[in-house]
Symmetry: C2
Subunit: 290 residues, 2 copies
């Protein structure tokens, strides 16, 4: 963190504005510059003081920056890389906060110059609340953050990005982008698809009889549709394969239920119960359930 | 409630003991008797004082009772009906707190005598906590409760059971058992199957990368496997059909994702998001999310 004189964040949603706010509050020597393509968001961000400066345009946001963090929907990354590339200073590190990583690495390689270093980041933080008005300087504290690198990634840039997230309180793991996208299809993108499918499968008249179980199981279906459509589009094969695995488990349970096979049904439910209990114990130990 | 001199509850789990405790605290003129087949639970229930009396055997629990409430796993109901039938007084009303209703009505018709009146009940209350030590006198306050009747059900008994749950703070709806089981397959039993399938489909090594989305979507998979196996066994056709509907929605989303069809994917996600937003607004208005 000592080497960083300026960080720039593109996108002043919950994640982006929480990054600038966290740096602003904890590292007064680092200049924080933010940008949003919406004038109304720029005004809000300025009024709330989530960054030292809110730039009026993309290029004056990233100019002179040591670390640029992109916090916009994934499908905008390629365009943004192309637009900012000519104005980035030599040795600048570029990262992001997107939920899929393989395409981001490909686009960075194609669109950013050779004097700029891209490293992927995926902080597992967020909330169902959206927008700069919910920015929190402690959003990343205690969160996992996956940093991704492939064989072309600059080692010093990886160290810089790891140190950056650690300094905001994240517990950092390193993966390659393909591995990341496979793991997160299963633990994040597929659950989202299931929540949406559950809501869409339920009769509009009967849905009001839903209890807390339904409300929890479907919670993430309330997430922003455009952000999630981007995630699915940029991780399509893994997500489609993950959905297939879930359908196969649903078929197993459906078949046991159809046959009224108590022992088979019980075993499938007990397998799930004990596996989840282990997960919850792990999460409690790591303080990741707060 | 004026006519009730004694209520008896079979099963001193969270639901059963919360029923006796709520009556004990609010209606001092009604005698509350509880029973559990486990000696250790009977001792705990006595020590905690959740009922005026904890009977040592099933028959002395129900003898002289005006209203008997069965709060054991559903698959025990037929046996319990058969055992208690000879000892119930004429005009006694029998109900339960089970999550499926069609078989309960059939078993009651077959096993309870003609001088005893069965009405189904399904209070939508509970918690992931289990056992008499979590008994709460306000567990039913603000909860929905479905009361079920078919063409053979005694009208005065239905009034008695409706009044009983209302007096504990429930908002009561009446359905026939077939309709009840169809609706609750979709809004409760299918989400449970999905939560279990999600956990079972996830790799044991990767599961620790799960974030809050996964934890919420899978929460109900931590419920007691035996209770849920009973629910599935007694509502098999509706649950199997509900799983089919969800699989068909998953296939729609999977196909849009595979084709990388952004508009189709976005529409499915947006449909789910807006439908769930309506549900949450309804639940907030009805104060059902506390």
């Amino acid at each position: 963190m000592k080497k960083l004189r300026q960080i720039s964040v593109i996108g002043m949603g919950l994640l982006g504005s929480s990054v600038t706010l966290a740096v602003l509050r904890s590292f007064s020597s680092i200049r924080t510059v933010g940008y949003s393509h919406r004038a109304s968001t720029r005004k809000k961000a300025r009024d709330l003081g989530v960054a030292e400066k809110i730039a009026e345009d993309l290029l004056s946001c990233v100019r002179d920056s040591d670390l640029v963090i992109i916090a916009t929907p994934i499908c905008t990354f390629e365009d943004i890389f192309e637009q900012i590339a000519p104005d980035l200073k030599d040795g600048c590190v570029v990262t992001d906060v997107g939920s899929t990583k393989k395409l981001a690495h490909q686009w960075a390689r194609k669109r950013l110059g050779k004097t700029v270093h891209y490293v992927g980041s995926h902080p597992i933080a967020g909330s169902e609340k959206r927008g700069v008005e919910f920015a929190r300087d402690d959003l990343f504290f205690g969160a996992k953050c996956i940093v991704t690198k492939d064989k072309n990634t600059n080692a010093a840039a990886v160290r810089c990005v790891k140190e950056f997230w650690s300094s905001l309180g994240c517990s950092v793991s390193v993966m390659n982008p393909a591995e990341h996208d496979k793991v997160f299809a299963d633990v994040s993108h597929v659950p989202h698809a299931m929540a949406a499918a559950l809501v869409n499968a339920t009769d509009s008249k009967q849905i009001n009889f839903a209890g807390k179980g339904f409300v929890d199981t479907s919670r993430i279906a309330s997430g922003p549709a455009n952000v999630w459509a981007d995630i699915f589009m940029t991780n399509s094969a893994n997500t489609a394969f993950g959905i297939e695995k879930v359908i196969s488990q649903l078929r197993k349970l459906q078949s046991a239920i159809k046959q009224e096979n108590y022992q088979k049904t019980l075993k499938l439910l007990e397998d799930a119960r004990s596996k989840r209990e282990k997960l919850i114990k792990y999460k409690m130990k790591k303080n990741e359930l707060i």
